[in-house]
Subunit: 250 residues, 2 copies
Amino acid sequence: MQRYFVPSENWRDNRVLITGEDAKHILKVMRMQDGDHIICSDNNGRTSLCEIVELDGNVVEVQVVKDVETETEMPVFVTIAQGLPKGDKLEYIVQKGTELGAVSFFPYTAERSVVKWDEKKALKKQDRLEKIAKEAAEQSHRSRVPEILKPGSFSDLLKMAEQYNIKIVAFEEEAKQHESSRFASVLKTAAKGDSILCVIGPEGGISQKEAISLSERGFVLCGLGPRILRTETAPLYMLSAISYHFELKG
Amino acid sequence: MQRYFVPSENWRDNRVLITGEDAKHILKVMRMQDGDHIICSDNNGRTSLCEIVELDGNVVEVQVVKDVETETEMPVFVTIAQGLPKGDKLEYIVQKGTELGAVSFFPYTAERSVVKWDEKKALKKQDRLEKIAKEAAEQSHRSRVPEILKPGSFSDLLKMAEQYNIKIVAFEEEAKQHESSRFASVLKTAAKGDSILCVIGPEGGISQKEAISLSERGFVLCGLGPRILRTETAPLYMLSAISYHFELKG
């Protein structure tokens, strides 16, 4: 069934008002009618089966039929801090990372980032990534849309890192030296509700200098297996492994 | 350092003859000279640091300086059987799946596959996918290039499955019912050297009918966490989790 995130201020007495892009999608793309059903989430933990009760040119009103229980969020809160990669890789990371359960993404300019974003470009990119995250969250049945944090610098990354319980860096040099125990060891120390910050470098990885400042601030430098992963593959590996570790207990 | 797979028949007395595309790449793209170094793998377990000793118009000859030990292959042999997806998703699955350690890929026509490949198209696609696998294997420092198996039908899949120790299907219905223990339980039964067949459906997943014939043949139907993954994300999740399980011991 079609799913839409509707801001909680649009929910009143089990009536939900859908406007903008989503209303257009319901009316023009899905061509839905009175009595059709959709799933609405308020991006705040509430997800409900709803019936369309009114449509006009650009607004759709639905009535909650029943709240549906969803447990689709990870038991830990994972933020992906991604060194700015080339091309459209970041869009891909946000789409797949949303399916895989990340709660937020922080694009930062790393020493080896080739692309640079000025204020204007950063805002435009942020809007685009927010749209991708919303669509991926709807498709993957998430009950919250991951946040796209304002892109920043490496020192912004160091500042924000202070709020996290657990801090991990994907570090290729460790992988090459067959370091293979730290990632799993760190995950074993994590508890339900912990916040985990995963830092990934751009193409070429993080620099030695960056690795040193991160480890000085309590980050654990981890290899992700013996194969060299591309910058856009590393976050998916980390999120899949974290999901496997916390959500798929044997 | 640049890496190339060179068929073992081109290796003689620590001399390696590089021809075709790779020679072009060394000469025209990398613009290498006598004395430059590259890494060559014979796709048969041998990987060597080599020095360029001769170049002519379209052939490069290199001398082995020393063999380098590599342990970049998974301790288990994972084959990804992928229901034909739309667009270029399969290329993406082969590229990422190669980075993540799969040893072979089997594209099959599933009940819900929208695209159909005739003999001619299948051959063309297979060539293209082999090229992608070779490049991804070089980039990720694999010591073998994953095999692209001849695309086939669902009954071909059932036939080939007989050779595998462990057979797993990603089944969305199980995920929706929060089935969360089987995937990890099955991996716990696997030993070093086992062959694991992972079956993924196309968009829309595998059908109930397919699920039944697979489980009748000893496949384990597994959920991959509570979120609904796209067809191209499921194999990456499975490979990442298998790598985490077998290669990253905490």
